[in-house]
Symmetry: C2
């Protein structure tokens, strides 16, 4: 799947990922009204509104981008109907040829981690049969529990040729509270990054290139991105925090390797709620998906021009 | 809800929690056969088998225990039918008067953490209405992202009088890989524990006592439990790792405060798969729930006798 991600990046010439994090305040009023009229102001009504909103965005941008990153919390909050729409979104994006990164940030140990790995990346055994449940291509994983919490995901990645992005240095303001603390002169996130490199070395595709084990480093910490790029040369870095959280293309060049690969930059609300920004307000909420397409194009240009200046 | 947990512990005289982590290999063959016959060897068939298995255990032990801890990964791996049975299990346990600790180990930032908090502890707004989704009483939370990742849960805890247990020192063998690393002479888990104490101070019930913010410290690390008990005097400690993972009652006394409270010890497979252990094999799989009841009684006695020796 890492190679499909790379192929999609090359095809679209866009190392970007659209975060499908559909907060209700982003969903156009007309979509909410229609779905509440049909299903009531219920969890089902909310979930179906989210689905219609997502589908509009996916249809509008799928030819421009290699991947999407649905944030499962935004679906999970609506209970079973929300999880159903999460799965529908995963499936629909895969039908459209997109790589799907489930932003699930799961993390547990042993058989529990194996259950998450089966549910999100692999297949679960039921009697004589085996089924995928949510079946994303990649997921994000939390490293706090150590190797016991990561190895079961690695095993599934190797079996299924899928991938994980391990949280290393997150984009939020307080990420340094624990992640930046110095241990023998090096910050915790660097120790985690070194483990990512070691885990990654155990999870290489037969044909070489990039590992099935990637990392998350926030766009809001470009200096840390530069360091971690060197610490984990074979790991793709998933870079959240572009746009709404403050990251800009010029900040991101050092997250990439010399081959122009090795990073994929996420924008969520900057794309999916573009129509609510002054810059794209001319589209109006009826044309929210066109506003998202324009925002994707602008993001692609911002990153391409920053990368071009580096070379 | 912390006060309901304490009341339940006093009522049952048992500071224990049964982990409802239903791996398929624990489910008696006759239950699997019946459900596969009815629903096929499908995700639904597996989930319904899990439900029947859970219900048997809950019915058999609910009068002996204060709380249960369903591990969501074991349900999530079966997709939508699994999540439906997770919710059914939560609801059924609450009907039986049990406190429900959702072992979800979620962790994210800002609006995403708020969505998890709404989905698991609070209510999500849908138009003019607000609904609970999974509606546990407590959940477990991962601290790697720092305060940004914990505060949204704290806000929901205060609003809803619910609670969280933050991962501090987990029970697995490799938990030390990051958690034990020394930062200015103190291990990372202690820094996290000090934050738990600080977060907890902001989340006290009006009547005082124990905080809405608790911690997870593994039974397999009794020395760390003793230290953390003093660092977080107002936090309940959820103690996994008893039984199958190697923890014994005698190891656990220092997790408790002088009032005999402050800790709740989890056992999962040691209870729910008791019938598969030599000690309880006389029950047979048809009477798996009676074996679970016997294992609960033995666990209660083990911990009570260890605590009695301390006094």
């Amino acid at each position: 799947m890492i190679n499909k991600l790379i192929a999609n990046i090359k095809k679209t010439d866009a190392p970007i990922v659209v975060g499908l994090d559909p907060m209700m305040k982003f969903v156009p009023e007309y979509i909410k009204a229609a779905n509440f009229a049909e299903y009531g102001e219920t969890l089902l009504g909310a979930a179906e509104a989210v689905w219609q909103y997502n589908k509009g965005i996916i249809d509008a941008v799928c030819d421009l981008i290699p991947a999407v990153k649905p944030q499962i919390a935004m679906y999970e909050q609506f209970g079973i109907p929300g999880m159903t729409v999460f799965k529908r979104t995963v499936d629909y994006c895969k039908e459209k040829g997109l790589v799907v990164i489930g932003d699930v940030k799961r993390g547990d140990i042993g058989s529990t981690a194996a259950a998450y790995a089966a549910g999100h990346l692999g297949r679960v055994q039921v009697g004589s049969k085996a089924y995928p449940a949510f079946d994303e291509d990649f997921i994000t994983v939390n490293p706090y529990l150590g190797s016991d919490g990561v190895k079961p995901f690695m095993e599934t990645c190797v079996e299924e040729k899928k991938g994980i992005f391990v949280l290393v240095k997150t984009s939020n303001p307080s990420s340094g509270e624990f992640q930046d603390r110095l241990i023998d002169g090096k910050p915790l996130y660097q120790w985690v990054g070194e483990q990512v490199a070691a885990w990654g070395a155990e999870c290489m595709p037969a044909e070489g290139g990039y590992s099935y084990v990637g990392a998350v480093v926030g766009a809001t910490y470009p200096e840390q991105g530069r360091i971690m790029r060197k610490v984990m040369p074979k790991s793709f870095i998933l870079v959240p925090g572009y746009g709404a959280q403050g990251g800009k293309g010029a900040d991101l060049v050092d997250f990439f390797n010399e081959d122009g690969l090795g990073a994929i930059v996420n924008s969520s609300r900057g794309i999916i709620a573009a129509y609510q920004q002054e810059q794209y307000s001319r589209y109006g909420e009826q044309n929210y998906a066109d506003a998202s397409r324009a925002a994707v194009t602008a993001m692609k240009e911002d990153i391409a021009s920053a990368l071009a200046k580096r070379l």
